[in-house]
Amino acid sequence: MINQIQSLGHKGLDFFQRLGRAHILIVDILKGLPVLLLRPGLIVQQIFSVGVLSLIIIVVSGFFVGMVMGLQGYNTLVDFGAEESLGVMVALSLVRELGPVVTALLFAGRAGSALTAEIGLMKATEQLSAMEMMAVDPVQRVLAPRFLAGFISMPLLAAMFSAVGVLGGFFVGVGLLGVDDGAYWSQMQSSVDIYDDIYNGVIKSLVFGFVVTWIAVFEGYDAIPTSEGVSRATTRTVVHSSLAVLGLDFILTALMFN
């Protein structure tokens, strides 16, 4: 009994220590950003590995999600004779929720885990130590560009996800099921608001981008420098960032749409 309480306390302390380290790290990263802007080459390189390489999975998933929504939405709406509103349904769910959230989840799995593994292995093989001894600060040289690249890539990926999803819905709804072409777009335009929906969706994906890359970069940097430590850190990145995304989504939705 006492032991259990103690282990609980230990875990709690551990958690707060990690949280503290994560905050110190993000402050260091943010401090490094202005210097980083002088070396755009580093950022471009990272946007390539974080953003461009995630493109395929995002675009393909977006198209399929849009198609499924087209199908499901049509089947529901046709009962009410309201299949003209298919565009509204597809667009609103994508722009407000599915775009930012699913993109962030896929991003955590595709890019976040890769970031953690890469940084963790660099730590395990002493590459980060070697950089420090070469008077190169790994936080600024390795972590900051990756963080910035994730933060920039996420909203772009989410926008592409939503846009492709709307096209997927169009393909199924208009192309296959015969919803009126004009109605699909015009109903959508009259119900989707630039500020309420699009802008808020972009804000969401910016927040998710910040949090997911922060977690990924921190887990890698904080990993125990062994193969097991890195593999655990990678798992933690995916689990923690998924939970963080879903939790934050609820909070943001409550703040934005009420």
Binding site: V52, A82, V95, S153, L156, V166, Q189
Partner: protein, 187 residues
Amino acid sequence: MTTRIAEIWVGLFVAGGIAALFMLAMKVSNLSTYSSDSGYDVTAYFEDISGLKVRSPVTMSGVRIGRVKAISFDKQRLSALVTMEIEGEYDTLPDDSSASIYTAGLLGEKYIGLEPGAGSNDCEEFSLDDSGEIKIEETKNTDCKPSTLHQGSEIKLTQDSLVLEKLIGQFISKFLDDDKNKKEPAK
């Protein structure tokens, strides 16, 4: 060389992302219906606006000419005060136009439809002449124009939203009455 390829890809990626944002803004959302030069505000009182929302369309002859800017409740008049923003280019709407709340389709969105009035103007003067007949005279005022809706004007003639529940309620009670009337003579 490899950095070059990476740079090209990143360029395409960023361009694609921005294009997607642009498409969401222009094709998916209502940004294209926001006019650049702001229009003028017109108010109207309705007894019942249920279903109408801020940013619902305001149309005339089926063409969108503005949108609902604000909805509030007037405590004195105990009715809803709707402020509409009409786009600046539509500056020739007669000031006795009427506003009704319609529904697009059976379950669709509510919108406000304006119908142009005859256009009252101050160009004519009414007076009773000696024989007691109404005499209409053109005023000498040369710069008289038909008066139009402008910033702050109020649309007096309004018709409320058709509420489906009320309609069904009326229909049912009428149906029941008919039923009763039919049964009564049989007794």
